[in-house]
Each structure stands twice: as structure tokens, then as C-alpha cells.
Symmetry: C3
Subunit: 310 residues, 3 copies
């Protein structure tokens, strides 16, 4: 990573025609609890992210065994001015077996009106904020009753508790169903050079058609792309080699290239970070300033697919 690039600021974009405007890079707080930060360190982390132009943070009720939102809330209580500078995304719909939720007997989904509302309200309390900018249904519940879910969305919107609604990990048919009852602004999905399926299964086509920007999780393949070669699959080795080559051409790190590969997609994806190291977060922001050529993009595609395009 060269010093010239580190000053890049994350651009912002409209998530959907009637959706919010988010920073292109979104601070993922899935593992906030693992980072063992003091409340003040969490404040610093958020301030450093803001300095990089990252205004949007991604949470879920269940992250960190139901505790990650509380850790964020402690930081916001210490630094209340951050609330106005940040946009908050959270999720609901999964019920984990957890000491924090002793009533749950088996891991399952709950997308009932009552649970969606209760979960959103609990997220607000835990994060010590008054409004979510975006609430996502975390998984496609096979029992999802679209009218009941839309009813929960309407109530949460009417009470000012949640501004916008979306989903995560939905197939196109599942998205069409819920979107027919309530306008969704995003689908948060997995996409990386080790998981190119959304390029083919219609997810990204649907997003682009509806002018809805997807949010991308596991953009670095859960970190696998950064493992030593001998701990990687054949596919991982091919992709890593291609990343290194192009990283050399562009004088950036392989991670930056891997994220720039996602950011080039015409559906205009937003990318979630996963790290608690601000340097890793800065690399994601840096990627927003890197333009891969089509040849570079397809060299990476081909390394992942193990063949050239037809």
C-alpha cells in the first residue's frame, strides 16, 4: 500500500431510488466483541472510520452472541455526537441458541410481525440510538409471511424507529415476494473472488434492474484469500497469484485489488469491512479509488473460474 493512496475518502451513494445515501464502504461490526476494545477504543475506531469517509455501520441483533450492539451502544454513550454522523444498519430474524436468549431451544428463524418489531426496538436500546437507518431481514425464512413482515415494516416506519428496510441472503424469488409487499432498498449478499455465484444466479442482475445497490459481505472470502499459498485451495492459489500480479501493476496490496474487483461491478455494490484494524479498513476505502481495467477484472474472474470466458 502506497502512502499516496491512503488519503482516499469513501465516496457516498444512493442505495436505491427511494433509499438512503450510504458510504460505499460500510464498517462491519460483526466481530466487534472479538476485538477486545475498551469503550474509548471503540470511539476512536469509529472516529478513524469517519475520517475515512465511512459513515455507515453494519450490525445485527445476533452479532457477538447478541452483545455486539451493546458494545457499540457503550461507545455512542461516551461520544454522543457520533450518533448524528453515523448511519445504522441492523438485522433481525435469526434466533440463536444462546445464554443471552435462554428461551431458544433450537436455532431457527422468526420473521413474525411481533419479533421484527421487538428485535428492532431491542437493537435501538442496545445501541442507545433512536432510529435505525436500515433494518435487514437476516435470512430468507421459509416461513416468511410477506404481509406480516410488511406490517412490521410499516409500524416501525410510522413510529420513526426504522427508516428503510432490506434483506440479506435472499434469492431473487424471495426478494420479489417481499418486495411486492414493501419496497426493499438492498440485498446484503456474499460475493468475492472465491464466491462468484451471484454473478450467475440472477441476484446482481435483479439488483441492477431494480437500481438497488447490494451490500457485500465476506468480500475477501472470509480472509482465505490472504492465507499463505500452502493453506489455500487450488482456486485460492490461482486467485492469489492473479491478485499479486495485478497488485504489483497498480502498486497496491492484493486485498485492495480483491475489493476493487467487487466495486467495479455495475450493480454498484457497497462493501462491508470485517476487520478491527483501521489499516485494513483504510485498504477497503483505498479500493474505492482504484479502477481495474476490464482485462484485469477478467484475469481475476478467469483465475477464480479456472478458465477463460467463452
Amino acid at each position: 500500500m502506497t502512502t499516496t493512496h491512503t488519503k482516499t475518502i469513501s465516496p457516498r451513494q444512493q442505495v436505491a431510488p427511494a433509499g438512503p445515501e450510504f458510504s460505499r464502504i460500510v464498517l462491519g461490526l460483526w466481530r466487534l466483541g472479538d476485538w477486545k476494545m475498551t469503550p474509548q477504543q471503540r470511539v476512536s475506531f469509529l472516529e478513524q472510520a469517519l475520517a475515512l469517509g465511512i459513515t455507515t455501520v453494519d450490525q445485527a441483533d445476533i452479532y457477538g452472541n447478541y452483545l455486539s450492539e451493546t458494545l457499540l451502544g457503550e461507545a455512542l454513550a461516551l461520544a454522543p455526537h457520533l450518533r448524528r454522523q453515523l448511519q445504522f444498519v441492523s438485522k433481525c430474524g435469526i434466533k440463536l441458541v444462546s445464554d443471552q436468549r435462554p428461551s431458544h431451544g433450537i436455532q431457527h428463524y422468526d420473521t413474525s410481525t411481533a419479533h421484527i418489531i421487538a428485535s428492532a426496538e431491542q437493537s435501538l436500546r442496545a445501541m442507545q440510538i433512536e432510529q435505525l437507518d436500515l433494518l435487514l431481514i437476516h435470512r430468507p425464512d421459509p416461513l416468511m409471511h410477506a404481509d406480516d413482515m410488511a406490517e412490521a415494516f410499516r409500524q416501525l416506519q410510522a413510529s420513526g424507529k426504522v427508516k428503510h428496510f432490506g434483506v440479506s441472503n435472499f434469492t431473487t424469488a424471495q426478494f420479489d415476494l417481499l418486495n411486492s409487499r414493501f419496497p426493499l432498498v438492498t440485498n446484503q449478499i456474499e460475493l468475492s473472488l472465491l464466491h462468484m455465484q451471484p454473478l450467475l444466479d440472477g441476484s446482481l442482475d435483479q439488483c441492477q434492474r431494480l437500481r438497488i445497490a447490494p451490500m457485500i459481505w465476506s468480500a475477501l472470502g472470509g480472509g482465505q484469500l490472504m492465507l499463505p499459498a500452502n493453506e489455500q485451495t487450488e482456486q485460492g492459489q490461482r486467485v492469489s497469484l492473479a491478485l499479486q500480479r495485478i497488485a504489483g501493476e497498480l502498486d497496491v496490496s492484493p486485498s485492495v485489488v480483491a475489493l476493487a474487483w467487487i466495486l467495479k461491478h455495475p450493480a454498484s455494490p457497497m462493501v462491508l469491512t470485517g476487520s478491527g484494524r483501521i489499516a485494513a479498513v483504510a485498504e477497503a476505502v483505498q479500493a474505492t479509488g482504484v479502477q481495474l481495467s476490464r482485462e484485469q477484472w477478467f484475469a481475476l474472474w478467469s483465475a477464480s473460474a479456472g478458465k477463460n470466458v467463452d
Copy 2:
């Protein structure tokens, strides 16, 4: 099965916004010929079903080697008053190689205008009735000409011979095609704890989106779920164990639980029975009164999938 439950009456429901109202449990007469009933026994069977609130019967031209509709017709001739109390579903589009149809040289589909009309008229004659409440295209014919089929539907509707139209075993794309030419009121599909594919392939999402209630065949996995453990697959064994556990909790039979699992789906499926034993039919009706909890529903899902939800 406890005596308390056996008095449940099948509820009724709207099949589609402009569709008929059917009983939630539908009497499947696929194997009527196998039951070796006298015409009077068939009348009694229908009367017992009616006493359980089952007003809808499901037939097809080809059932029982093209003879099942005739067996039903004999009963209706003996008890003409039943005609006004029952709603009749039949199907067409498959041409079996059969001594009853000596002109057929190979099993194939025929969804031509002429065949659909001729088959519906033959079903009316065989069943000795004047109108079908619902005619289904039995299989997605790769040669289906949607305009020709819609023309058959219009003629059958105009002549009063068939009130509503639907399909069976159609993919979502096939449904969209025919539905673009003529409004379909249902898709009759296979769904059970041994066949959960429609939860993922978009079929049930499409039904719910269009507010069309699916009809479910093979809801007990073709009876496999009720086999002794040593005759079952690993999946079947897992599901059977879970069914037995929950059956114990609810003081009903495992079959009732398996059907309640289907009935809980938000697409509001109607369930076809398959048995000639009125006790088995009564169990299906009983299932309409059983509410599984979400945890029970997902315990069964997990037993079938061999894993918890993500």
C-alpha cells in the same frame, strides 16, 4: 390420535383472489380404483369426507388407468345430491400408453386446444357431472403453446364446462408464461418433509406473491414417512424421530404433525389426501387444527435437511 381432535372440521379458503373457495383438505382420488369399493361404499366414503368438511375432490383423466373418474361417476349417479355439495378438480395433458387409449404409441403430453377441451368433456362424462370447478394442466408440456391453451380455457369457461384453471408441477417460469395468457388459480406441487425443494426453488414464493394457494400432493412423502425405521433412508429416520417426538408433545399422531408442518406455510397450501381409509383422511383434517410452534417447525426442517438453519 386422541378423540378430542377427531371432531375437527376442515376449514375452507379462497384459492386465489378470483378463484374458487375450497376445503383446505382435498380428497385425493388418485387410487380410488385400488380401494376396491362398491359404488355404495364410494358414496359412503364421500359422505364421511363431507362430514369432515372436505368438499373438494381431486381427480385426473389418467388416474387409475383412465378409470378413476368413472368410478366416481358411478357413485354420483347413485347419490346425485352429492354433486351440489362437492367441488370437482380434474387434470389433463398426459397421454398414457393404456389399453383404454389404444391409439397412444408412447407416453407423451398433449396440451393442444383440441385435447384440453376433449379431455375436460370426457372427465365430465366419466364423472357424470356438468361442470368442473377446476381443471389443471397435469405437467409442464415442453410443447405448450400458451395462446392455444388459453383459447381452450376460454372456450371451456364460456360453455360453462369449467369454472377455473390451474397447473400442476410447473416451474415458476412455466407458470409465468401460461399465467400471462390466462389467470391461473393454483399450482399443484409435491411438498413434504422428504421433498422440501419448493421451499427453495421459488415455487412457494411465487404462489405467496400472487396470493395463489398451492395444492400439495405426496404430503406424507408417498407414505415413506410412516415406514418402519429400518426401511427408511437416513433422512427418513431423522424426520420420523422428530415427528414422533413432536407428536408426543402435542398428543397427536406423527402423520398429523407432518401435515401440520405443511399447513403452517404462509402460502396457505391445501393438502391432498391419498388414502381410502376415512381414519387417515380424518387425520389430515385434524392437522388443520394443530398449530406447530416455530421451534417445532424448524426442528422438522432441520431433521429433513440434516443441519440447523444457518
Copy 3:
């Protein structure tokens, strides 16, 4: 092939409601370069095709290592009157590694506004014509930016350089995406008795629903269907046997039967030829006059699938 049949003339058909009218059989010039024809022989070949009612020729920028369009252009320069009698289809979007395009470092796709326009203009120059009747996007580019592509289409249409637009090898989701921005008139896809996937994957359902006639490439399975039995797969052997039997019944060649099998589909496909022998082209035209019965069609389907329909 019997002499009686050889006088068949290819019928014409509307490709889409607002699309062009093409000959049902389309002269595929993919391998024009392999045929080693003199310019005058190319003129003769086109004239013989026209005498068979074939008015539409299919090209692509990349055919014959970027040279096939030029070979056609040389013929049209010799016989300028043919331009008014023919309709020209070409394609763009693939960038091959080629001595003709030394700047390409890796095989990739390019569906940028600039490349689509430049490629269409180059096709016009190479073919020495002033207008394309139809320009297709050759492959579904994972980087396709639908608005940018629509912009290219609008500019090419406004300048009179291209009349209509379509795609090739697109999934239904990819088609929906681009069609949402600009009305497409066709999807050119592979279909044959050795490749029946489009019967199931929604492609042909979508075409029929939108009243868009697909164009079919590799209709004879890339010639595999005509190999000696011992060079064929088991599937190929089954299909060949069935083709021979039905060819005998109808007194035509197996190739004619294989093409009639495609032409019977209700999506009203147009079939591309692949041969430089006018006799082979005439067989394709002959197929337009052959009506397979449903039993014959399904006998071929069953031979390909290795089973009867359900």
C-alpha cells in the same frame, strides 16, 4: 432427402412484436472462412440461399478470427444488389486474443458504450453495408452496465446504423435486466436434441411469454448427431436411432427431422445453418415444411432424456 421436398422455401416470421421480419432459416456464416470460397463463390452461395427463401445472414465481429465479415463484404462488393435482398445480423461484446487485435491481452468481454458502437461500425465497414438489421450482445458480460448498453443502442439506432437489438446466450435474469432498459427482439441460444436445457431453464418460456422468437445455434449438436454410431455418446446413439426411425417414416433425412424437432417448438425458433454446402442449407429449409407429430416429437425427447416423460 426426396426431390419433392427440395422445393420448400423458408417461410418468414416476425421476430418480435416491434422487431424485424426474418426468414425462419438464417444463414450462419460462422465458418465462412473455413469454406475457402472465392468471392464469386460466396456470391453464388448467397444467391442459392436467397433462392431457398433465406434472406437473413448471421455474423459476428469475431467470426473467423475477425475476418468472416470482411469475406462477406467482398462478396457484397461484387454483387451490390444482394444488399437490398439480405438482412444482416451481427454480434459484439467478446474480445478475442488475436493477431487481428494485438491490443487484447486476455480473452474478455466488453459491453461498454464505446465498444458496442465501435464494434457495430467496424462490422458495417467490414461487410461494406450501411445498416445492420440486428445487433446482438454475444455473451452475458458479468460487467454489463445495462444503462450504458442501452445508451449505445439508442445512439446506433438514432444514427441509422442498427435497426434492432438482441442478445445471445443470456439467462432469463440477464435478459430481464437489459430488456428493462431497451426492448430486445431475440435471444440467440443453443438448442438441440443433445442440448435440451433451454426447455427447462426458463429461456424458451420467457421467449414465448414475451412473444420473442429465439434464434437457435448448434441445432444439430455441432454435427455430433451425424457422426457414426461408434463415435457417439450413449445419448447420441439413442437420439440417432430415433432420428433414423422417424426419418424413415417421413421419407426425409435424419438432419431434417432433428431440425423439424426444433422448429415445432411453440416459441417459434429461427434456426441458424452452419454449413457451406448448399445441400445442407436446403435440408434446413426443407425442415420448415415437415410437421412432426407430438408422438414423434416426444419419442425424440425421450431418446435424448433416456426416459419417458413423467
